[in-house]
């Protein structure tokens, strides 16, 4: 039960009759006829904060493309506790093409729109469209990279380092996602999308330690805590140093980010 595409009874709301697939940058370059076929088999779904999109162990009848909002992937441990293994944002895909049940649950962290592609026709289209297949493949490869980046961050011995790494990820990979980053005057405001408790699960720590780590970073001068979930980044380079610089020289500079954000805000 409940393995089908969620309907109104299930809690999700159909927002429009079809998705605006071309807004997803990865799909935009697909051939027109492929896009048309995609549009035919996809259903837009809306989820409110806290709703379950897919359950671990089930095999939903759809493959999801996140259109807006933020979802979190989590695994349920034996003792019932949930452990976050990643966040999904605009443009991300979830669901196991050609494969068995999910091994993560997906839950909306903020109000989210998801394009649900019916599994069977999507897989069949995948076989006929090499371009779509390629997009899906690259998407998964991308997610693999993200998981590896998380591994590097999680392997840091100190909470402060892991938290700094997390903030760097928000500034790089999540930079394009609306409502997360906002340009200030020579600084950048970061809206932390999840609670301290969730952040603690994600970083393998406790809420108290996360809180202390935030304030330790603030005392160091690299960030300021405007509100508990609104962080102002004052010194990106210092943050990189604390984070231990996961990817050698691959981090965004403050100037580059500000430029990017000002471009987006106009």
């Amino acid at each position: 039960m409940e393995e089908n595409i969620p309907d109104n009874q299930g809690g999700a709301r159909h927002s429009r009759s079809n998705c605006e697939l071309s807004q997803l940058s990865q799909l935009a370059e697909l051939p027109v006829d492929t896009l048309k076929e995609l549009a035919r088999i996809c259903r837009p779904l809306r989820f409110q904060t806290g709703q379950i999109v897919a359950h671990e162990g089930e095999r939903p009848d759809f493959i999801g493309f996140v259109h807006s909002g933020i979802l979190r992937m989590q695994k349920t441990l034996e003792d019932g506790r949930q452990h976050i293994v990643g966040l999904l944002v605009e443009g991300d895909m979830f669901g196991r093409v050609f494969d068995g049940p999910l091994n993560v649950s997906v839950e909306s962290v903020a109000d989210a729109e998801v394009c649900a592609m019916q599994r069977a026709p999507f897989e069949s289209l995948l076989l006929r469209s090499p371009e779509l297949d390629r997009v899906v493949l690259l998407n998964i490869l991308d997610e693999l990279d993200r998981a590896r980046d998380w591994m590097i961050i999680l392997a840091k011995p100190k909470v402060k380092e892991r938290l700094a790494g997390f903030l760097m990820v928000l500034c790089s990979r999540f930079a394009g996602v609306d409502h997360i980053l906002r340009a200030g005057s020579g600084t950048i405001d970061v809206k932390i999308p999840i609670s301290r408790t969730d952040l603690a699960h994600l970083l393998g720590s406790r809420p108290e330690s996360i809180s202390r780590a935030f304030h330790a970073l603030a005392d160091g001068g690299s960030i300021a805590i405007k509100k508990p979930d609104l962080i102002e980044i004052q010194d990106m380079d210092a943050l990189c140093v604390v984070a231990g610089d996961e990817d050698a020289g691959n981090h965004p500079t403050m100037e580059h980010l500000l430029e990017f954000l000002h471009g987006r805000d106009d």
Copy 2:
């Protein structure tokens, strides 16, 4: 330079004129003509312990299928330190199909045989063979799962828990790999394939703490240290409890493993 398939000058040795592709269980089910095409574009390579198979940031001209031995994937941090993000064993694939440069280095931990598929013809074959495409897709999805499992393990607060989780992974996912597991009398001997230092990097700790964690597990009675790199597992259930049981009720039992190993040894 050195972005091509390693040749004899580069250190890797061609072992035979063609790979025994059918030995790789995932490929065995492919259509015969696809296998033939694969055989034509693949080169067997041999690597000795410590050899670099592929450099981070490069885009090797081949996609690798591990035939035997163990390789490790690692990222180079800014300070030059290397951080292990995963191990590759028999049946695993590496190299980014249809995509840019690698973002991990691959290095052989033990003498290894790798089937190197020339990139261009492999990608072209991928477009023509849906079955091969599916195999590749599932392989990457699998690796994504493994990365997520690592995240769960890495997020454990105590080193002892992470180490127990690592041992459980060796007993489940690496069970089929030769020379890692060996059946004892009601116990299982595990050959730790990497040094304490590497293990420390993998688990986000230090060699000293890893050593202490090993001995703490031994004092608890769940394992015995026969040699520094040869661990006898005496109580798998106890080990699961210490590990915190990542995947609810998904761990192998001692009996099941012993049965499996005895079947293999005959």
